[in-house]
Symmetry: C2
Subunit: 135 residues, 2 copies
């Protein structure tokens, strides 16, 4: 039984300073939430000390949105899990602009499904594409 | 650059009542966190009204742990994302016992990686196995 869709997003070669900027990351959340008409029940944010990154987690009526940033690797990852049908968000375009990412990969997985995950058919269940870098 | 490992867990044919029991779900989180020596920074929980399910989200120093339950479909899904190496947790065994799940699927994905996700090699990047039902 498919109960939701989860997008897993990897953003590489980002601007390290921006990955330490909680406000910038909250802005991305706000944009996703607004564009996809999601509803936030609660959210928690944490900026780790020193040169470490930021974690954001939003509990949505539609499931969840999370991010983790790794300034030391110029990488950010996001998860968007929706138990209701939602259009694709333009992750590549937005993360290139907001985080300075050179490359963004978006994967989609159907949640709750057991049968197709047993076999190698997860290929069809786990679609991935990469946006080429601007560099 | 691999920045973490995420386990995606699907539990099917669970006991519907237990999927509405936030205390039972918090107990599962406590067990995972204790067994894997994870550290919770903050956590948010929400029990949706009526016959709907429960969402739990824990922000960890190691990344995150989330769950969503769907009593109407007797299904629960979990995500465990760790930016530090951790052993496999015995999801099948524990969720069969705690949620009465008949079948549990655990998938593993490496986060932050772009190159292997471009091609169909995500098969090797996205390992899945299913524990057979007890029924």
């Amino acid at each position: 039984m498919i109960v939701g869709t989860e997008w897993l997003i990897e953003a590489a070669e980002c601007d390290a300073e921006t990955l330490r900027d909680e406000v910038a990351l909250r802005d991305i959340f706000d944009r996703v939430i607004s564009d996809l008409a999601l509803k936030v029940v609660d959210a928690i944010w944490h900026t780790f000390p020193g040169e470490a990154g930021v974690t954001g987690m939003a509990l949505l009526t539609e499931s969840h949105l999370t991010c983790h940033t790794y300034p030391e690797h110029r990488t950010a990852t996001f998860n968007l899990y929706c138990c209701r049908s939602r259009p694709e968000w333009a992750w590549e375009k937005h993360l290139k602009r907001s985080l300075g990412a050179d490359a963004v990969a978006v994967s989609v997985i159907q949640r709750g499904e057991l049968s197709e995950r047993e076999s190698r058919s997860e290929v069809s269940n786990f679609k991935s594409h990469r946006a080429g870098g601007d560099a």
